[in-house]
């Protein structure tokens, strides 16, 4: 994920300081890896250096020094360019999941590859249930639902692949070792 662009997007609504940005990030992207404060400040530093944001004054009410930042015109243009770029739809099949199965077939027998697939399927199924429970909880916000939907759709696709591949393991192994 492009953290600099996400921060630019969060600043599009107006000036915010680092702490507010971190909170807004975790709220808008509820199932993303939470952003560390250090990462927020380091990213803001780079964005400032590149002229994409500027400091818009300091707030100091008995607490720590808090600098608010605003988007510059160049920052807004960079954000718009990023949003306009279509993401390449899966340019490489580069998942660790896939690589492990391929490697397992090389170094292990059919049963070994199959037991890896079955263990992975179990972990995926458990996670799918957790996310389904989280999104159907009456307290779930739409932010939660949309984030869980994204993960569920991908887990569902992985699970279909795991099922199909379990059925293909024996043939695949024969082909690899022929």
């Amino acid at each position: 994920m492009s953290t600099p662009h996400v921060l630019l997007g969060l600043l599009a609504a107006g000036a915010r300081h680092g702490y507010e940005l971190k909170r807004a990030h975790d709220e808008r992207l509820p199932r993303a890896r939470p952003l560390a404060f250090g990462q927020v400040y380091a990213t803001l530093g780079r964005l400032q250096r590149d002229g994409l944001v500027v400091a818009a004054g300091q707030e100091r009410e008995g607490g720590p020094d808090r600098t608010a930042y605003v988007l510059t015109d160049a920052g807004r243009a960079a954000l718009d360019r990023w949003l306009a770029e279509v993401e390449a739809p899966m340019p490489y099949v580069s998942s660790t999941l896939f690589a492990k199965v391929a490697v397992a077939l090389l170094v292990d027998d059919v049963a070994g590859a199959r037991s890896y697939l079955a263990a992975q399927r179990q972990a995926h199924t458990v996670r799918l249930r957790e996310l389904t429970a989280a999104k159907t909880a009456p307290s779930a916000s739409l932010d939660d639902v949309v984030a869980a939907d994204y993960a569920i759709a991908h887990l569902d696709a992985d699970l279909r692949w795991l099922h199909t591949t379990l059925d293909r393991v024996a043939d695949w192994h024969r082909e690899v070792h022929s």
Partner: protein, 233 residues
């Protein structure tokens, strides 16, 4: 408490075996997903458990009592009073309004017309389609029809709901809305569900997943740790 049990259930269609000795327990209030590839026997199992089909061998028990030996009339009464059934589509009577469709199982069970209509309206409301009470199925979307069918399946407050690909004909969002309401309502009532689906996403709504393969239980439970596939173990 165990509600439903299949013990060694065998069922064939002519020379083709569909179930080859299935064992399954469903507890009170439990939602069990029955999954597996096409032709694995999951719908046949649902029909046997619901008393719609009779097994060729083995037993089906409801609260410890064998029902597979009951007459068709007795099983039909059990289905009307205690079980609910929900299929993929095409269950509503085209000539009747939504409220009349939902009231139908109650009328068949001898409930008075006024009382049946009140109950039907209540269930349509719980499914979020109260405004369709006087609409006929032909004028509804697929999702609206399925909500009405769900209301009809629940109006008798069944102890077990048998649902065969209940969201199979719906788009993802509509299917999810129907399923979320269904699960919430049966949890309130303590009703069990036997949910047949081939979609992992749908099975994730259940408490437990039972995978059938080639007419036998391939694995049962959350800990799907039994290596399977292609009939090899």
């Amino acid at each position: 408490m165990t509600y439903l049990q299949a013990r060694g259930v065998v069922r064939s269609y002519g020379p083709t075996p569909a179930l080859r000795g299935v064992n399954l327990d469903v507890a009170e209030g439990e939602i069990v997903a029955v999954t597996g590839p096409s032709g694995c026997g999951k719908s046949t199992l649902l029909h046997c458990l619901a008393g719609i089909l009779r097994p060729d061998a083995g037993e089906v028990l409801w609260r410890g009592e064998r029902i597979d030996t009951w007459s068709e009339a007795a099983r039909s009464r059990l289905r009307r009073s205690t079980f609910g059934v929900l299929f993929q589509f095409g269950q509503l009577v085209a000539e009747l309004t939504a409220a009349e469709n939902v009231a139908l199982p109650l009328l068949l069970a001898g409930t008075g017309r006024r009382e049946a209509r009140t109950a039907a309206l209540g269930w349509l409301d719980r499914l979020g389609v109260a405004d369709l009470a006087d609409t006929r199925p032909g004028e509804m979307s697929g999702g609206q029809q399925q909500r009405c069918a769900t209301a009809r399946a629940l109006v008798t407050e069944p102890r077990v709901l048998f649902a065969d690909e209940p969201t199979g004909a719906l788009d993802t969002l509509t299917g999810e809305q129907v399923l979320t309401r269904l699960v919430r309502l049966v949890r309130e009532q303590g009703t069990s569900i036997v949910l047949v689906t081939h979609e992992p996403r749908i099975a994730a709504y259940a408490d437990r997943e039972v995978v059938l393969r080639d007419g036998v239980v391939d694995h049962d439970g959350l800990g799907l740790d039994v290596p399977l596939a292609g009939g090899h173990r």
